[in-house]
């Protein structure tokens, strides 16, 4: 039960950093969604804000860790110019080529949207804090941006998982 260094980095990229982001989304969304006077007391807001701040910034950091390890560590191995690289193997096989031309090409670009949007969300939750309870329109806007960040990460994560199945990095 050993992993090569490349496999370990791939696991860190997708199954640790990326997974933490995706899993934390549900809690972050629920926390932001319920930040209304009808659902929480003042004491509840104080308690919830602390968790929201920790959660949002953790997600933003995980999103950056995911894309940076992906682009600068794992992706170079994927696209190495030798014939045995995952990219080369996928392109050489007509039945698998679309995994690269569509799957990887979409994943590698859209994934970068997640940290940009997640950082904006974390900043706004920090800056406005408990004022978001009364700024309903802004809170909903943040929820939408947060959801788009999740979607971007989900697309990247799903295709990453499939690509590592079809053409694993070893």
């Amino acid at each position: 039960m050993t992993l090569t260094a490349k496999e370990l980095w791939t696991v860190l990229h997708g199954m640790v950093f990326g997974a933490i982001f995706l899993i934390a989304f549900a809690g972050g969304f629920a926390g932001l969604w319920s930040l209304t006077p009808s659902l929480v007391t003042q004491a509840g807001v104080r308690e919830r804000m602390r968790r929201l701040l920790i959660g949002m910034w953790t997600m933003a950091i995980m999103a950056w860790a995911t894309v940076i390890t992906g682009t600068y560590i794992v992706y170079p191995w994927y696209r190495a110019p030798d014939p045995s690289s995952p990219r080369s193997l996928l392109i050489a096989n007509p039945e698998l080529k679309t995994w690269h031309t569509f799957g990887m090409e979409w994943k590698e670009h859209v994934g970068w949207f997640a940290p940009i949007l997640a950082t904006a969300v974390a900043f706004l939750v920090t800056y406005y804090g408990s004022a978001l309870v009364e700024k309903n329109r802004l809170r909903k806007a943040i929820l939408v941006i947060f959801s788009i960040a999740f979607l971007a990460s989900a697309v990247a994560g799903i295709f990453g998982a499939f690509l590592n199945k079809v053409a694993p990095i070893r």
Binding site: R79, A120, L124, Y127
Partner: protein, 111 residues
Amino acid sequence: MNARTNSIRSDGVAAAAVLASGIGVFVTGVLTTMAEISGALKAALDWYAPAGPLSGKAGTGIVVWLIIWVILHYAWREKEVNFGAIYALSLGLVALGWVLTFPLVFEAFSG
């Protein structure tokens, strides 16, 4: 409500953050498609050879995002802006960025 939250009622800060992130996403999308059209641009975006032009596409998007964010934050932080319009514009930019990074779109421009 404490003094800090009372003093930051302005939507300008939110508008700056949202619009800047929309612009960052849009720029990344534009560069993705333009790199398929222009070989010279593609080469210029090859900031880190092992990662190829993706390094420059994402890098430029990040740099533009951060610069725009700082500028707009300081320009709008004391102001009440039309948040609704700016938010709609930002979502439009994000949508365009998404479209321009969709393989069926940008690969249609491949030489």
